[in-house]
Amino acid sequence: MKKIFSRPKSLKDVPFHYCPGCGHSVIHRLVCEVIDELGIQDNCIGVPPAGCAVLAYNYFDVDMCEAPHGRAAAVATGIKRMLPDRVVFTYQGDGDIAAIGTAETIHAANRGERVTSIFVNNAVYGMTGGQMAPTTLPGQVTTTSPGGRSPLRDGNPLDLSAMLALAAGSVYIERTTVANPKGVNRTKKAIRKAFQVQMEDKGFSLVEILSPCPTNWKMTPTASIHWVEETMSKIFPIQVIKDVA
């Protein structure tokens, strides 16, 4: 029999530190599969965030530069401007990209930086222990919204991808999910397209991925993927948000 599914070459052969059922590791794998398929492992520079995925450089076998919390788009700008023929991507969580890094991200998109952002949205601050995130849903219980997020008091979930779509420099923005196999496949296609948009020098690209965080949602992994499909994707619909590529 022929092996038809195994670990991508650019994903280091080490166990993930992520919790059982976490979406990060699926997304790591997908990014690496795309890197392998595009043949850019030796031509690619990644920028991991602060948060659970800060240790992404332990897994991606490409050059990686850690960014201060939220500043990945600015760090990526510095790298890409100096090395325009390299493929530069950021990998960021919702707190990183949609709260503390909002300004950096919007302006990188507006400048049309030829970088790709992988935006992992799990509606919660994971690494710090489950606090309310900019993308936390109304009513969602977190350690800092113990009574559930109250839109009047805490604001509504921020749709950063829609905001970025308004920026003239953004070319391709899609929201996907890794909560089911079909979604995983679609996410990979979206990541591939986002990288290609960059490689074709068209502008800023971003893939927002709804991703389960069973630990901080205090759900089983199975309940978590159902929550993404039944609840989270109602607020953050799975769709191509912008495609002018």
């Binding site: 600015a74 510095g78 300004a103």
Partner: protein
């Protein structure tokens, strides 16, 4: 070497940076240093291999510096006091990631928004690291146009040599003042030593990581001790000062940058009135030139520290002198610029006391 040209300090700094191989500048407008990004933008517009980005904030610009430095480029950012406060996050990361970069602070009156007049109130911030964590930044303090040119070259060389951020600490007056300058010849960027740590894509080599997170405390401690050892070598190697008319001096005034020029005028004035005064001017603020000052202090009647602040460097002077002679302070914070006459008056009053004591 260039022909002698008359240029304002910010432009001198920009031209010297380009001649030092700087090929990336990231900044955000703030008075009084805007002529520097303006100079960089127009110069880089004519250089296809150079990058100028006006960022959306000082935070973004210092993080662009991190990214560009990662690739091995010689990179600079500049700002003034409130903006440099915002850059401190990135400067801490640069130190931890051991990335070279040159950061210019043309200081203005503070705290808060303060004003746009020349001041020296960021000495603590510059010389104590400025951001979080156990680290230091090399701080160079030019006082003359020519020195701005020379120290800018030195700043880029030191940053690369020690893989550490270097700050050029000036003030609004220094940035605006026009002085004659002779520039060193431009360096050949391609002939600079290769950076075997830079991120360029893992072609024909293992992938590289530039990071500052070390979750395992012994690993973080190892980084800290490595930095300490580096700082010891830097202190040994680069500490520098100007010692002016101190051979027979009974009173020495310690001042840096613009304040030192005012102080020098004051020394001339009181010498003509019979007071044996000299000037000790630190050219590196970190590492602070303690050694020579400590050596001369045992023979002095008095040391006067003059700063355009409420008294910051005076602490380093006292740490250097360790009580071997009295140290007093005179300062004008808030962007007020003293005159040589004013400082001469202070020296004279001290001189009179010194004479009385020794009589």
């Amino acid at each position: 070497m260039s022909a002698k040209t008359l240029m304002r300090g910010t432009h001198v700094l920009g031209e010297a940076a380009i001649r030092s191989g700087c090929r990336a500048y990231f900044g955000y407008p703030i008075t009084p240093q805007n002529e520097l990004p303006e100079y960089m933008s127009s110069a880089f517009a004519k250089m296809p291999d150079a990058v100028f980005v006006q960022a959306e904030s000082e935070l973004a610009s210092i993080n662009m510096v991190i990214g560009a430095s990662c690739t091995g480029a010689r990179v600079m950012t500049s700002s003034s006091s409130p903006g440099v406060s915002l850059k401190q996050e990135g400067i801490s990361y640069l130190a931890a990631m051991e990335l070279p970069a040159v950061i210019v602070n043309m200081m203005r009156g503070g705290p808060g928004l303060g004003n746009i007049a020349p001041a020296q109130s960021d000495y603590f911030q510059a010389t104590r690291g400025g951001g979080h964590g156990d680290y230091r930044v090399i701080v160079l303090a030019p006082a003359y146009g020519q020195e701005i040119a020379d120290m800018t070259r030195q700043a880029f060389d030191l940053a690369d040599k020690y893989r550490t951020p270097v700050m050029i600490l000036g003030d609004g007056m220094m940035g605006q003042m026009m002085e004659p300058v002779i520039f060193p010849d431009p360096v050949d960027v391609n002939a600079l030593p290769a950076k075997d740590w830079a991120l360029t894509g893992a072609k024909d080599r293992p992938s590289r990581i530039i990071r500052s997170l070390w979750l395992d405390p012994p690993k973080e401690e190892e980084l800290n001790w490595r930095l300490v050892r580096k700082y010891e070598v830097i202190t040994e190697d680069i500490t520098d000062q100007e010692i002016y008319l101190c051979d027979d001096a009974e009173i020495v005034i310690v001042a840096y940058g613009t304040a030192a020029r005012i102080a020098k005028g004051a020394v001339h004035r009181v010498r003509s009135q019979g007071v044996k005064a000299g000037l000790y001017r630190p050219k590196t603020l970190w590492p602070f030139p303690s050694h020579e000052l400590a050596a001369m202090s045992k023979d002095l009647h008095h040391i006067l520290v003059f700063e355009m602040s409420a008294g910051q460097m005076v602490e380093d002077v006292r740490l250097s002198v360790e009580g071997r002679c009295p140290v007093s302070f005179y300062g004008r914070p808030g962007g007020v610029v003293s005159t040589p006459e004013e400082i001469a008056g202070v020296l004279n009053s001290l001189g009179a006391n010194v004479v009385k004591k020794s009589a």
